[in-house]
Amino acid sequence: MKRFRMHMLICGGTGCQAAGSVEFKEALEAELKKQDASDEVAVVETGCNGFCAMGPVLVTYPEGIFYVGLTDKDVPELVEEHVLKGRPVERLFYKEPSAKELIPEMNDIPFFAHQELIALRNRGVLDAESIDEYIARDGYQALAQALTQMTPEEIVDEVKKSDLRGRGGGGFPTGLKWEFCQKAPGEQKFVLCNADEGDPGAFMDRSILEADPHSVVEGMTIAAKAIGSSVGYVYCRAEYPLAVYRLQLAIDQAKEYGLLGTNILDTGFDFDLHIYQGAGAFVCGEETALMRSIEGKRGMPRPRPPFPAQAGLWNKPTILNNVETWANIPQIISKGGDWYASIGTEDSKGTKVFALTGHIHNIGLVEVPMGTTIRSIIYDIGGGIPKKHRKFKAVQLGGPSGGCIPEEYLDTPCEYDAIVKAGAIMGSGGMIVMDDSTCMVDMARFFMDFVQDESCGKCTPCREGTRRMLQILEKICDGKGEVSDIETLEELSATIQEASLCGLGQTGPNPVLSTLRYFKEEYEAHVIDKKCPARTCVALLDFVVNEEACTKCGVCFRACPVDAISWKKKEPAFIHLDKCIQCKTCIDKCKFDAID
């Protein structure tokens, strides 16, 4: 068989594609052809590699050299030097911010070195569009084992032993959920995958579907055997075209190979899988709303019980799990529940994937063992806060349903209970890092705006309550807040949490409550002193230079887009308010917080 001497794995995740990986790949293939090296070098497009901030990224094997920030202009040099002459091109290596040295090999990069991959184990190492490569990485072995060597009860037992908890945010024990459904009476049962991923800032599930769609197909098929189901659906938002495309391809390939459809692997078991594309409403991630949406109705939640395990899709017993939950299943079956439970901590087993975004050096996707501290994720893996003159302020976990964790709780381990104690939730994995230029009242307002907008309107507390809370928060950010507003926010929060129909309303006030818990003085500064300490809320800014703090550097003068600032060497800057358009460019640029 003809072999390749080199593999060039280009990340084809959505992030890298947006940064130009498609053009890069085309240029690379053309150049290899021109240099007559096409049959020596395999160019493989993988799913998201995780290091999105540095895209487009490329890993070459056998050397394992990691290139970042590539453009098609780099191609001729890369082929001439690295491919033909074996001389890696240093200027395109990743530069580690803390080490100040070039780090060419992937395993040496701290971003990767601190991670432990289970759900993401195939990211960046296989061609996401090749079922053969998935099989070569032991893919579908777990399914074969489940179909031939295990009873449905044994499958459920294995998952129970692993102590896996749902990764979609609720954290419900997966094995237990399957057991309820397995025991529920009914001929027809359904297996569903939640790929709605509505949290702002989250992209874990999209990446898994783009990088390793077969792991989800395999996990769902194993569950189908466990509960006795012959049909499944993946509910994926239509805003994820690449994920939908790759998943559909995976389903088609699996059908062709007899890994889906009738008589799977010649064992007599039948299971078929379909994709249902959602229109992108946050509430459709809620399980009962999701099922209604698949039924073709308007996506709105209904009260539980009955729980989906008894009466779910079309009132039939149904299990719904999150994409990441599914991606863990094949390995739990093949390596055993005990193996999975040996990773992590007493309270929380296995690993968790986080989408790291915001004011952080290494924006990207990380998977760490449970128990890793949040500090370690942000500093060891994330590389810390990018702007040198800024300090860490808080990290938002769990998006609009979650809360923020301030500096003093950074050593909280990633464990379901510990994170709740610290005032946030594990959530589905969104991790938004904020530096001290972030106004926490404004942040709470942002999430309340989101929740209010996404509220389906079915129940009054959520529909009216979130609107009322948003109005108050807007009023505070506008400088018109009163002391009593803070109390009203607290009262409304309690009522909405208590009385809402589904998780959207029940958790919607969380960002407000957690910012009130840790940053109440910031609310007070807004309503009493009429100041925004983080200099975010425009209505509370004077746009006046504080001459004591000003270092007379002139950065603001040069940055102002409307020439509203005058400045001379060795003199403090002055802002002409008649010309100022309050765009805050000067405030963003000033490293000394000298503009109030």
Partner: protein, 124 residues
């Protein structure tokens, strides 16, 4: 494509793994073909192809073939360096297809250094 039986999974794995093993490390033998301008001019490309073809005829997944720039001995090109894990690398010079093939068969696969064509031991 016929529907798979369970035993087919292992077959696909073996077939594809020959290729993807490159990404996993753990190579036992590393063959470096020197591909500086001088090397290419004197036929290093043919040597590389010969080695790759010979490798393709085996089932081995632990042999990697790479390139490097000029080895500094332009008059001795084309050259390759063969290193077996735990042994000293051997540089071979003035190669042609037949020699390259024999070096692959004997030294890479069997471990017998082809002393007649060896130029030097060790790295620079």
């Amino acid at each position: 494509m016929a529907k798979l039986k369970i035993s087919d999974l292992a077959k696909i794995k073996d077939r594809v793994h020959q290729d993807t093993s490159l990404r996993e490390g753990g190579a036992q033998v590393k063959i470096t073909v020197h591909m500086g301008t001088c090397g290419i001019a004197s036929g290093a490309r043919t040597i590389l192809n010969t080695v790759m073809d010979a490798l393709g005829e085996t089932e081995r997944t632990d042999i990697i073939v790479t390139t490097s720039g000029c080895a500094g001995l332009c008059s001795h090109e084309p050259m390759l360096t063969l290193e077996r894990l735990g042994e000293e690398p051997i540089k071979y010079a003035k190669l042609d297809e037949a020699k390259a093939r024999q070096i692959f068969m004997r030294h890479a696969l069997e471990g017998e250094v082809q002393t007649d064509w060896a130029l030097a031991k060790g790295t620079e």
